[in-house]
C-alpha cells in the first residue's frame, strides 16, 4: 500500500540520471564550451565538470585548442594561479598565441612521458592535486579500465578532464559521459557527438576551425575585402590592414 503511494508521488523523470528518450539528460555541473552550437547539443549546456570527456581525432594535434580554449580560459580565470596540466602533448603549445586567446602561458604545466603507464600515472596524480584547474591528456593507448580510473579521480575531485585519443578508439567501450569525434573540413571542424546523455545526434555540429583573427585575415585575403578592424596590434595587423 505504502509502496504504491510512493510510486505515485515520485515521477521517474524527477530522479537524477533519469531522462526521457527525446530529451537531454542533466549534468550536475557544467562549464560553457564557448561555442553556442555545441552548448545547445550538450546535456547541461557545456562540458561536464568532474567527468571524463573524450575527443577522438585522426591526428593528435589539430582543433584541440580551438575546441577547448574558451572553456579553459574561463576555468583559469575563475581559479587563481591554478595551472592547466598537459600530459603527453604532441607538440609544444605556443604561449603568445594561447595568451591572446585567454589562457596565459604561465598557467601551463607540460608533462612529457613516453610510456603509456607513466602518462596514466601523471594524469591521475594531476587530477588528485588540489591546485590544478584542468587536465588535458593525450592517451592513445589507454584501455577502458584505465580510463575508468581517471574518470573516477576526476569525479572525486571535480576536475575538467579531456582525453585525446585516436579514431580507432571509437569502437571501444569507454566510461566517458561525453565522447566527441572531430573531423576537419576546409574552414570548419565537424564535431560528431558519439555519446552523450541524450538522444543520438543526427548530424555533426559545425564550428569554426580557426581563431577569429586568423579567420578574418584569411577571409580578407580570399575575398580581397577590407578586414574588420579587430583589437589594436602593431606589426601583424599591417598585412591584414593592407589587404
Amino acid at each position: 500500500m505504502s509502496s504504491r503511494a510512493f510510486l505515485r508521488l515520485v515521477s521517474p523523470t524527477a530522479l537524477p540520471h533519469v531522462w526521457q528518450v527525446g530529451a537531454q539528460g542533466s549534468e550536475d555541473e557544467t562549464l560553457a564550451t564557448g561555442h553556442a552550437p555545441l552548448d545547445a547539443c550538450l546535456p547541461g549546456g557545456g562540458w561536464p565538470v568532474g567527468s571524463l570527456v573524450e575527443v577522438l581525432q585522426a591526428r593528435p594535434e589539430p582543433h584541440v585548442w580551438q575546441l577547448l580554449l574558451p572553456a579553459l580560459a574561463l576555468v583559469v580565470k575563475n581559479a587563481k594561479a591554478a595551472p592547466v596540466v598537459l600530459v603527453g602533448a604532441p607538440l609544444q603549445p605556443f604561449g603568445p598565441s594561447l595568451a591572446a586567446q585567454g589562457l596565459p602561458a604561465e598557467r601551463l604545466l607540460c608533462v612529457q612521458a613516453a610510456k603509456p603507464a607513466a602518462r596514466l600515472w601523471a594524469t591521475e596524480q594531476a587530477l588528485r592535486c588540489a591546485e590544478v584547474a584542468a587536465v588535458m591528456a593525450w592517451l592513445p593507448q589507454a584501455r577502458s579500465a584505465e580510463l575508468r580510473r581517471l574518470h573516477l579521480a576526476a569525479q572525486q575531485q571535480g576536475r575538467l578532464l579531456f582525453v585525446m585519443r585516436d579514431l580507432g578508439a571509437a569502437a571501444e567501450s569507454s566510461p566517458a559521459r561525453l565522447r566527441l569525434r572531430v573531423e576537419s573540413t576546409q574552414d570548419a571542424m565537424q564535431v560528431h557527438i558519439l555519446k552523450r546523455r541524450g538522444p543520438p545526434l543526427d548530424g555533426p555540429v559545425l564550428l569554426p576551425a580557426h581563431a577569429p583573427r586568423v579567420a578574418a585575415l584569411l577571409a580578407s585575403r580570399k575575398g580581397g575585402s577590407k578586414p574588420p578592424l579587430l583589437e589594436k596590434s602593431h606589426v601583424l595587423d599591417r598585412t591584414a590592414a593592407h589587404a
Partner: protein, 423 residues
C-alpha cells in the same frame, strides 16, 4: 618528586621518544635501557599526573608504543617498569621496601651473594649494617640504595634536542636494491617528524646516506658511502609527502653494492610557521599542493619532463619561450600576445621538401597570407635570422605556419621551414 620510566618497544626509537618527552618536562634522561622523566615541576601544567601520563603515552601516533612505570624516585620507577616487563605483580605492598633486589642496577652483580644471605628486597639490604655493606659490595650500591629511597638527590645527564637531525640506522638485512631501503627510511622519517615537531621547524632538504658493505666490486674500488639528497619547495613537517617523494627518488636510485646502514641528516630547515587553516570552503579543497605534485612528477619522470614556459624577449618565435623544469623556474607571462600566432610550435623548425618552387608538408602547401618579416639575431654566430612568415594550407595538416629563409648573397634558392600548426 614524581618519576616516569619509559621503555620503547623498538630499541631504535628511544632517542625519538626522548625528544617527544622533552615537550612535557625538561628533565629527561637515558638510563640503562629506559628513559626517565622527572615531571613534578610540570604536572600541574598538564592537569595532573594521570592526564600527563595519558598525553605522554597515547597522543604520540607516529612512534611505536611504550611500556611505562611510575615511582617517587627514578630507581623506583625503573624498578616498577622492570617488574612489569618481567611479568611479575606490579603492585608490591610497600614500594621501595619490597621491591626485589634484581630490579636495582647497582645490585645486579651481587644478587646471587645477597640472596644466599637471605637478603631479597631493597628493605632487606637497607637493614644490613652500612659499614659492612660498603666494605663488601662497594659504596656505589649504598649510594644507589639511598637514591632509591629518596635520601640522596638524583642527577643525570639530561637529554637535549640536537641542533640538526642526524641518525644512523642499521638495516635489519643487507639491502641490495635502493627500494629495499624504503622501510628503514620510513622509520627514520618518523623520527625526523618527532624532531621537527620538537624543534618547531620545517624541513626543506634532507640527505640519505647509506654505507656500502663492500669495499671493492669486480675490481673497482667503491666509495664507503653513497648519498641521496631530497629537496622540497616549501618547508614541511608533513611526513606523508616526504615519504612519497623519498620513495620516488629511491625507486630511481641505484646501489653500487649492498648497503648495511642508512643515515638520515637534515640539511636545511627553517622555522615552522604552522599550518594556516581556514573556514572558507574554497580554501579547504581536498588534495595535495601543486609543488608536491610537481616534485613527485619530476622525481619519477625526470626534471626535464615536467616543464613550464618562461617568456623571453625575442622576435624569433622559437626563442619567445623557453621550457624550463617546473621545479626550478617560475613561469612568466608572454610579452607579445597575438592570436595570429599558431597554437602549436614545433620544437625545431622543420626543413620542408620542395616540389619546384612549392614547399611540401603532407602535399604541396598553398600559401594563404603573408604575415610578417623577421630580421633579428645578427649577434648569433650562425648568422642573422632573415625570415618571411606565411600562413599556408596543407592538404593533410590544415593551416600551418611556415617561413622562408631569405637567401644569402651566395645562395640562389630560398629554404622553407615549418614552424607551427594552427589548431
Amino acid at each position: 618528586m614524581f618519576w616516569i620510566a619509559l621503555l620503547p618497544t623498538r630499541e631504535d626509537e628511544r632517542t625519538a621518544w626522548g625528544w617527544w618527552a622533552l615537550q612535557f618536562t625538561p628533565r629527561v634522561a637515558r638510563v640503562d635501557e629506559a628513559l626517565l622523566l622527572e615531571v613534578s615541576g610540570s604536572e600541574r601544567l598538564w592537569g595532573g599526573r594521570k592526564p600527563l601520563l595519558r598525553r605522554l603515552i597515547q597522543s604520540n601516533q607516529a612512534l611505536a608504543p611504550v611500556e611505562w612505570g611510575l615511582g617517587a624516585t627514578s630507581l623506583v620507577a625503573l624498578a616498577c617498569l622492570r617488574q612489569k616487563m618481567r611479568g611479575r605483580a606490579l603492585q608490591v605492598p610497600q614500594p621501595p621496601q619490597d621491591l626485589p633486589l634484581d630490579t636495582l642496577t647497582a645490585a645486579a652483580d651481587h644478587v646471587d651473594t645477597l640472596e644466599r644471605t637471605g637478603c631479597r628486597t631493597w628493605g632487606d639490604l637497607r637493614a644490613l649494617p652500612r659499614g659492612g655493606v660498603a666494605r663488601r659490595f662497594g659504596a656505589a650500591l649504598l649510594d644507589a640504595l639511598d637514591a632509591g629511597f629518596g635520601h640522596r638527590p638524583e642527577r643525570y645527564d639530561w637529554l637535549t634536542l640536537p641542533q640538526s637531525f642526524d641518525l644512523n640506522f642499521e638495516l635489519p638485512a643487507l639491502a641490495t636494491a635502493a627500494p629495499e631501503l624504503m622501510w628503514s627510511a620510513q622509520r627514520l622519517l618518523t623520527q625526523l617528524q618527532v624532531w621537527l615537531a620538537a624543534r618547531n621547524r620545517g624541513v626543506l632538504a634532507l640527505e640519505f646516506e647509506w654505507t656500502l658493505d663492500l669495499r671493492r666490486l669486480n675490481g673497482v674500488k667503491l666509495p664507503q658511502h653513497e648519498q641521496l639528497v631530497v629537496r622540497t619547495a616549501q618547508a614541511t613537517q608533513d611526513i606523508a609527502h616526504l615519504r612519497r617523494l623519498v620513495s620516488e627518488h629511491l625507486n630511481r636510485a641505484t646501489l653500487s653494492a649492498p648497503a648495511n646502514h642508512l643515515r638520515l641528516r637534515s640539511l636545511e630547515t627553517v622555522p615552522w610557521g604552522g599550518i594556516s587553516t581556514s573556514l572558507l570552503p574554497e580554501d579547504n579543497i581536498q588534495g595535495e599542493k601543486l609543488h608536491q605534485l610537481v616534485e613527485r612528477l619530476s622525481a619519477r619522470l625526470g626534471e626535464g619532463n615536467v616543464t613550464v614556459p618562461v617568456a623571453r624577449e625575442d622576435h624569433r618565435p622559437e626563442c619567445k619561450q623557453q621550457w624550463l623544469p617546473a621545479r626550478q623556474a617560475q613561469a612568466g607571462a608572454a610579452p607579445d600576445a597575438q592570436s595570429l600566432y599558431p597554437t602549436w610550435l614545433l620544437p625545431q623548425p622543420l626543413r620542408l621538401e620542395m616540389q619546384g618552387d612549392t614547399p611540401c608538408y603532407g602535399g604541396p602547401l598553398h600559401r594563404l597570407a603573408r604575415l610578417y618579416r623577421v630580421e633579428a639575431a645578427w649577434w648569433e654566430e650562425s648568422g642573422p635570422a632573415l625570415r618571411d612568415y606565411f600562413i599556408a594550407r596543407s592538404p593533410q595538416a590544415g593551416l600551418v605556419w611556415i617561413y622562408q629563409e631569405r637567401p644569402g648573397p651566395g645562395e640562389v634558392k630560398a629554404r622553407w621551414f615549418l614552424q607551427g600548426l594552427y589548431a
